[in-house]
């Protein structure tokens, strides 16, 4: 019987597969929309794999594993339960029903129970209806974009490279000992070796932090060059799988469906005042998704940054509007080479933002700010609003005076956000705020004024032992300087550096309190 619904069943090879086989032997009426994928253990199905079917057009996903205590590998059942729970929460937030993912645990002899479970799930999916995410067909390439390597090289004038090697000597990856060199990548691509696997791997490994561009005497914009090269590989379907199984890119691609209505602000504390008619729109970003995704390992609370920003806006008498169906800005898609989906997302965002009638967007995320402000315009998408970073808003308001700050406890170091400090050239902005924050205790600030090295990754592209190595070095240096708090400016810096602090062997030597600059201000500001 053909059916319009699609349900993917990930089925553990051990216990429940025997039950499923029995159903097949009995020619039981397993709902026809269920497509079974046999897997070695339910614990191996990551959040990325649970989500991927939705991006591809599935209406429901079932993960079936062994009963608690019966896992062949010990912890599979437990891991599966955690992954399912996290994925459900994210689905709820993104506007797909959390119920569309379900975990079942069955013994080999529980064939009837399994059948009942599958039937109940299929019935529930029919009730919920088709998934609002539409799998995409057809390409939607940005017109006028260089397609050939030659065009990309010419566009960024990579020929200007003098082969001096200043980039490599400053590159965080190279300094961490990775066989990676921007100069070499540039030379190889100019020489026509773009399709060689090692060059591709290097393009993928670049942190796009922008240190090389800062150093380059010929002003070759290496990050922009890398961005275009990634799009080149993506168009030819040879990109590497991003970090975290590509979960975030999957999620962002799912968001390009206009029929999907995210529920971004459902967990907003009631004490925060908002006003739908406001001329100021607050753009939150992906923090709440990150918190769910990473809670197990790091206890990250990046949504705190968003909430503290809103509280600060309220403190300064701004009641911003929020887009209840706010989507991702598309930064990570753009930087992982998926330009067509970035453009889709950007267009939806631009329309949604225009529909709010706001005159100014304030965001606390440096990537959102850079993307909305610079990248959208670069790809021909005009926003009818002024984009302001939260730091700029705070500088403006604090500059008016009459506020003061409680003296900070302990010493603090600052971690720059690459998109803010290097790409937008705004390294001074957070430093001005830090100066306000430490006005009564200037010795509490450990900062030499220059942008700090990268946090270890960007756009969830790749992460390896070398990233980890220089994260550890960075944290050790901060600790040695006597700082107890690391102030960050980007939720991703916070996630990556906290991940490095989880090191089992070195953990104790790396522990630092991490706090976003906005939160640090929110905690200590008061009316003088």
């Amino acid at each position: 019987m053909p059916t319009e619904f699609k349900i993917v069943l990930f089925l553990c090879s051990w216990g429940p597969h025997a039950a499923f086989q029995r159903l097949q032997d009995q020619r039981a009426d397993i709902p026809p929309e269920i497509k079974m994928v046999r897997i070695p253990c339910s614990g191996r199905i990551s959040k990325a794999l649970l989500f991927k079917p939705f991006e591809m057009g599935a209406d429901g996903v079932i993960l079936v594993g062994c009963a608690p205590g019966a896992c062949r590998y010990g912890t599979g059942t437990e891991t599966a339960a955690e992954n399912t729970e996290d994925t459900r929460q994210i689905l709820d937030l993104i506007g797909l029903d959390g119920e569309r993912v379900q975990l079942g645990n069955f013994q080999p002899d529980a064939a009837d129970d399994l059948l009942a479970f599958l039937k109940a799930f299929a019935a529930r999916i029919r009730e919920l209806g088709k998934s609002p995410v539409r799998a995409q067909a057809g390409r939607d390439r940005f017109a006028g974009e260089p397609e050939t390597v030659e065009a990309i090289v010419a566009r960024h004038d990579v020929f200007a490279c003098q082969d001096c090697g200043k980039c490599t000597s400053a590159c965080s990856l190279a300094l961490a000992g990775k066989p990676f060199s921007p100069r070499y990548v540039a030379a190889e691509i100019i020489a026509g070796h773009a399709d060689r696997p090692d060059v591709r791997t290097s393009v993928n490994a670049c942190l796009t932090c922008g240190v090389c561009y800062e150093r380059c005497p010929s002003a070759v914009n290496f990050p922009e060059f890398i961005k275009d090269m990634r799009a080149y590989y993506h168009d030819r379907a040879v990109s590497a799988v991003p970090a975290h199984g590509g979960f975030f890119q999957s999620m962002m691609r799912a968001m390009t469906s206009e029929s999907l209505v995210p529920r971004r602000w459902t967990h907003l504390p009631e004490s925060i005042r908002t006003n739908p008619q406001s001329r100021v729109l607050f753009f939150g970003g992906c923090a709440s998704y990150f918190d769910i995704f990473f809670h197990k390992f790091l206890g990250v609370q990046t949504e705190r940054i968003v909430e503290d920003s809103l509280r600060l806006l309220n403190f300064f008498d701004v009641e911003p509007a929020l887009m209840s169906d706010e989507r991702c800005c598309g930064h990570d898609l753009l930087w992982s080479g998926d330009r067509e989906n970035f453009l889709r997302l950007a267009r939806i965002n631009a329309d949604a933002i225009a529909a709010t009638g706001a005159e100014e967007i304030i965001t606390a995320c440096p990537e959102c700010c850079h993307t909305l402000c610079t990248e959208y315009a670069r790809y021909g998408i005009e926003l009818p609003v002024k984009v302001t970073h939260m730091h700029a808003f705070l500088e403006r308001e604090i500059g008016k005076g009459a506020v003061a700050f409680k003296a900070p406890q302990g010493r603090m170091a600052f971690q720059d956000a690459c998109r803010q400090s290097r790409f937008d050239g705004q390294a001074d902005l957070p430093r001005k705020l830090l100066k306000h924050l430490c006005a009564d205790a200037p010795e509490a600030l450990d900062d030499d004024g220059a942008p700090t090295p990268c946090c270890g990754n960007s756009a969830w592209i790749g992460c390896d032992a070398f990233s980890k190595h220089f994260q550890v070095q960075r944290l050790q240096r901060v600790r040695q300087s006597g700082s107890t708090t690391l102030i960050t400016a980007c939720p991703k810096c916070q996630i990556h550096l906290r991940c490095a602090m989880e090191d089992v062997l070195r953990g104790g030597d790396l522990k630092l309190e991490t706090m976003d600059l906005v939160s640090a201000i929110a905690r200590s500001i008061y009316w003088a």
């Binding site: 503290d308 008016k400 005076g401 905690r523 008061y526």
Partner: protein, 191 residues
Amino acid sequence: MYKQITITGFGGQGVILAGRIMGEAAAILDHLESTLVQSYGPESRGGACSAQVTIADGPIYFPYIQSPDILVCLSQSGYDKHVATLKKDGVLIVEQDLVKPEGGRDYFAVPCTRFAEELGNKMMANIIMVGFFTAITGAISLEAARATVKKSVPKATIEKNVKAFERGWEYAQATLKGRREKAAGRIGVVA
């Protein structure tokens, strides 16, 4: 309405000009009456100096001020000399970095010299003070004060001075707002 204002400071801080702007704004643009009495020593800079401005909605019969309703101090010596004359319920405004008020009296403070330096020229401290004074006391209207600042300063510096005026005005707004918020018990962001 009958407001007596004393402005004190060092010669060269622009005390007289500040008084002149206040009086002119009131008399010409706000359609009130005003008088100005200036007193300064022989020094062009550095000596004590004061301006006495009276603003009223009826005729002013005596321009000298014995005990002002509003005292603006741009220097410590000016403060020391005049604070005792200020009425009990009078408003005290001081330059935050140059004057340290004593006693428990409530006062408004603005670091106008520092702001002026940030804006590029410390000579504009007096204009910042005029902006601050305008918002805090309401003795003259915003538009009148701004327009008078424009016509009282050298042409080449009009834009800068208007900025300075607005800096002071904004700072006063923030100060007043901070007081309101504090009175309402909203002191910080996180309770």
